[in-house]
Amino acid sequence: MKKIVSAKEAVKKIKDGATVMIGGFLSCGVPDKLIDALVEQNTKNLTMICNDTSYPDADKGKLIVNKQIKKLITTHIGTNPETGRQMNDGEIDVELTPMGTLVERIRAKGAGLGGVLAPTGVGTIVENGKKTMEVDGKKYIFEKPIGADFALIYGTKVDRFGNVSFYGTTRNMNTVMATAADTVIVQADEIVDEIDPNEVVIPGIFIDCIVEREKDLETV
């Protein structure tokens, strides 16, 4: 049985300077209440690993606007002009990476691999500073695993064993991030007694604690 806690309680262990992965594609499948609690807590100098920085007034975007992020590893910042401004003004260190490469790096960490060879970005600036290798006459970039101290992820339904199922396009990077952080906190739309074992997308083994969105302990 996994601990069920409030969003506020869940993010308490995240200290200044921590590395945090956050699931979500734009504002879809994103643990918004966990992010709100992290904004409220005002933890600074975070390294954030995420698909995108959403919009300035939404979820991941709020952490940017509130200047809590020192380093950002992401694939797209086009929907949040404040990220671009902070980058251009040298306030935030942004590492832009191809989406597939970021996903594979996170997955490699969770799967205990020492890295993968990606074809993506060969012949572009993505190659800069990275080792390349030729395999059967084709050039690849060696990409190292990446993990985090915390992963904040979203789940549509989560059972008390930590098993997670999803509805719609909400899975995105939540699945790989669940495997690659020391502490994994899932925000559930709903905590249920049981999920059909055939419909579980993230096995409970990867989850540390659960926050229920609508019935958050602090807000009820």
Partner: protein
Amino acid sequence: MELTLLSKEKTREIIARRAAKEFKSGDVVTLGIGLPTAVANYIPEDQHVIFQSENGLLGIGKNTTGDNMDKRIINAGGICVEAKKGACFYDAATALSMMRGGHIDATVLGALQVDEEGSIASWMIPNKFVPGMGGAMDLVIGSKRVIVAMEHTNKGEVKIVKKCTLPLTAYREVDLIITERCVFDVTPDGLVLTEINPMFSMDDIKESVSADFIISDNLKYMDID
């Protein structure tokens, strides 16, 4: 010199309609954000083309509105869409494996520059416009066919160049370039002009393209109606 014979709307329509002819039934296609998204509007009703997106949906349908909107089902542009019959949802690892692994039949995307070797720049203008590459690099390297669908020039600035000066999205991966003025095949011999919009002269094309190109023996007029 900037030619302004076509409205913005008509320009986009010509490009999207032409790009839509590149598919056959059963093809799985990924459309970039912006102009390429409009390509879906010109696929014949009876042609079963399947649209895929990197946020986890195979079988993208129409945009949803009002009560049909569900914020948990979006396309890669963040717009709420319908999941068609036969659709499925999956995570980013699966989505990007589809793309990078060669399982997508064609991708249509916009560009800032394309060059005569088929290299494409689409994700940044240093210090000015840096949205990031998202899944574009994976798509371009992995799709069986890469189609650039873009306005011919950027307010008069040449976009089809000898060699891209902007940071690349991918080196030598483009197969076809479609603009409102013409169509180029990218071949091992270089660009081959295969179609021209009858509203433009060969000189118009030559003046608005800095890449070298060959004129096809079978040069045709583009359908612009």
